[in-house]
Structure formats: C-alpha cells, structure tokens
C-alpha cells in the first residue's frame, strides 16, 4: 500500500514542522531545568564545574565508570550473596555438562535456564566479565553458537537487560507495511534480508561512540547478535539495524516484530534477555531462530528453523 506523492510530501512537511516545534520546546525546558537547579543550589554547578563535568553528560561519565569496574572485575551490582558464589562460576559449565549431575533427559533449554539461575544476578543489570565468560561457555556448549560479550575489543552498552518491541523498518522508499516505524533505521533503509530479524542496541550510550567514528558506525552496522530470553531460554540470531532505546524507557534493547514473536510469542512486548555478539568471521551463522534442542552439544551443527 502506497500513498500519493503529494499526500506523502504534505505529511513529511507537517512532521518536520512538528519535530522542530518539539525540539525548541524541549530545549527551552532543558534550559529551565538547569536554571532551576543551579539557581536554587549554586554549589551543585560549582561542584561539577570543579570536576570539569557537564551534568548533561553524566551518562557518559557513568558508562566510563561501569566499564572500568567491569574490566577490573569489581562486583558493583551483585548482591553480596552472589558475590561469594562468583569464584565458583567457572565450575558451573563443567558441572552442568557433567553426566553425573545432569540426567540424560535434561534438555539443553533446561540446562540453560538452570545455569541462568546460578549465574545471573537477582535483578536485571550489568554483568561482570566472569559472569559473561561463563555464559559464553554455556551458550557455546548448549546452543552451539560462539557468542561473545566482548568481540574485537567492542562491548555492548548492556549485555543483560530488557528488550522491547520495535516496529518494522523501511526497506526502500515508499515501503509501507503494517506496524512500520515512522523514521529510518540507524543506517537508512534496511535491506530486506536484514530487516526481518533485526535488533536495536544503545550505541548512543557507548562511552567512546562519538570519539571513535566512523569506525564504530561501520563495526556495528548489521552486526550479528545472539539474543537469549532468560525466562524461557528461546534464542535467536539477529542483526543490529537501529540505535536505542532511550535510557528512560526502562529497556536496553529492541527487537523486530519477528524477533519478539519468537522470543516470547505474539503478545511479548518486553522481557529480560542476554545479548552477545556472534563471533562469525566467515558469515556462516544465519539470522533467525536457533532451535538448539536439535543442536549437538559440541556446537558443530546448527539447525535453523
């Protein structure tokens, strides 16, 4: 279904005016918020000025601190009880795949869910490197996909967070299907092969996003990720086609309608997932659902549904 060109153009013009209008009002509101805070509490302005930190850039500052903490292995977010267990995490994979403790009838999906219970923190949030490494092994052994939290030195803004439902992205000018996003993807029109199983990640909050361009733009473009629903173990390989969602939505990732449908069914709008990069230098891992109950544990066979 397409619209007449004149109607589309009029709509485009109206939207442009509306966007400009909203942007100006938001800028004004932002200025008012700053004046209100610093007017009432001038010592706050001085505090941040003394540290050469712009409060508007506090998310970048936070990202740097979290990244540094994760690299040094400090368990900033982990409840103390779990922190005590962490040294034993490396043994989890071994014990999970050990015949003596894993009855033969245990499916890989059950094994994955059981390992989530042991590895993941109680609240959805950042993982440290030990937890991520353990999950990499669990995924390789049970799902059969070589997925990495850090690939070629790059790490997502989040690896354990909430995914939310996104709309379809335009594949070409005039594309108009049901549930279509009004704007384009992060890299413009999305090739049809990439659109069906696409993911959205918060590249905009990466601490070095602005300073490492255009390298990061190219690196993330249609990069494959493994998404695993931590509630039911459903796994899918998707490619990154857009940036977002905003930090204040309570979500860290997005998924195309097809991705969300596979992860949790037609009514699934938001839920906790793990998202890692797929290490696929020869482009052999196809996009789409991973039916890993039919995958051998050595990771040699990949069955695509």
């Amino acid at each position: 279904m397409t619209q007449p060109a004149s109607k589309s153009y009029r709509r485009f013009e109206e939207e442009k005016v509306q966007a400009e209008f909203v942007r100006n009002k938001l800028k004004l509101r932002s200025l008012e918020a700053k004046q209100s805070l610093f007017g009432k509490y001038p010592h706050v302005e001085k505090f941040f000025a003394d540290r050469n930190l712009d409060l508007s850039k506090i998310r970048e500052h936070s990202a740097k601190i979290i990244t540094a903490g994760a690299l040094t292995g400090s368990l900033l977010f982990t409840p103390p009880l779990l922190a005590v267990k962490v040294p034993a995490l490396a043994n989890i994979v071994k014990s999970l795949s050990d015949f003596e403790v894993k009855p033969p009838e245990t499916s890989p999906q059950e094994t994955i869910l059981s390992s989530f219970m042991q590895i993941l923190p109680q609240k959805v949030g950042p993982l440290d490197r030990t937890q991520e490494k353990t999950l990499e092994q669990v995924f390789k052994e049970n799902i059969g996909i070589n997925a990495k939290a850090t690939l070629e030195g790059e790490h997502l803004n989040s690896t354990y967070g909430y995914i939310g439902a996104e709309q379809h992205l335009a594949r070409f000018p005039g594309d108009n299907v049901y549930d279509m996003a009004p704007g384009l993807g992060a890299w413009g029109y999305v090739p049809a092969d990439n659109e069906k199983w696409y993911a959205v990640v918060q590249t905009l909050y990466l601490p070095d996003w602005n300073s490492r361009q255009p390298f990061l733009q190219n690196w993330y473009k249609y990069r494959k990720v493994l998404i695993v629903n931590t509630m039911n173990g459903n796994a899918i390989v998707a490619d990154i086609a857009d940036a977002g969602p905003a930090a204040w939505t309570g979500k860290q990732f997005g998924g195309s309608p097809e991705v969300m449908d596979y992860l949790g069914g037609p009514r699934y709008k938001k839920g906790p997932v793990i998202m890692f990069f797929v290490d696929d230098p020869n482009n052999q891992v196809p996009l789409g659902p991973v039916d890993y109950n039919k995958v051998d544990a050595s990771g040699l066979t990949l069955v695509q549904t």
Binding site: F12, E15, K16, Q18, A19, F21, V22, R23, K25, L26, K27, R29, S30, A33, K34, S36, L37, K40, Y41, H43, V44, F47, R51, L53, L55, S56, I58, R59, E60, H61, S62, A63, I65, I66, A70, L76, F77, G125, P126, N157, S158, A181, P182, G183, L184, G185, A186, Q202, L204, Y205, P207, D242, G244, P245, A246, A247, W248, T249, G250, Q252
Partner: protein
C-alpha cells in the same frame, strides 16, 4: 553500560512513542532523547537535594560522582540522611514530569 541510580524509576513509554512518531531521522530522535534525559537528570537532582538536609549535599554529590549508577548505595545513603525512603516521592515526581513533558508534544 550507561546507567543512573534513578533509571529504574523512569518508564516514559508514552514519550518514547511520541518521539518515534515525531522524529524523522536517527539524529533527530537521539537529540530529542538527549533533551528528555537532560531535563530528567536536572529535575531528579533538584528533587533529591530538596529532600536532603543542606549539610549532606556535598557528600551526596561526591557519591553521585563516584558511582552515578549505584542505586543500592545511593538510595541507602539518601534514606539514612533524609530520615526516610525517598524513592516513592521521586517516582511521583517523575510521573508528574512525564505528564508535563507529554504536553510539549501537543
């Protein structure tokens, strides 16, 4: 990961929908997201300081600077110094802020 200690109190889904409908490019969308973020951060800080005795402001700011993401540490500190949990109050303030910001979209 970028996280602020009050993120779990904010779910501006309606604003997110409005921005998606309004912005026609990634750049435009991210600019609007950033502006919402700026307003929210400044407002939250103001509301927190309103509830905290002046004598503890610098200490709180040091804590916020040191671990802006750590909701457990920061809210525990605020509860201790303000004499009560301020999370519910903050949640209410943020709900009002969301209503206020939604009006900007007409």
């Amino acid at each position: 990961m970028s996280k602020l200690f009050f993120d779990h109190l904010i779910v501006f889904e309606e604003i997110e929908r409005k921005i998606k409908k309004t912005a026609s490019s990634k750049e435009e969308r991210e600019e609007l997201w950033g502006l919402i973020d700026e307003v929210t951060t400044h407002k939250v800080l103001e509301k927190v300081l309103d509830k905290l005795p002046r004598a503890h402001h610098e200490e709180f700011l040091e804590l916020f600077h040191k671990c802006p993401h750590d909701e457990i540490t920061i809210f525990a500190y605020l509860k201790d110094k303000a004499g009560k949990s301020i999370e519910d109050d903050l949640k209410r303030d943020l709900k009002n802020l969301e209503k206020d910001l939604l009006k900007l979209f007409g």
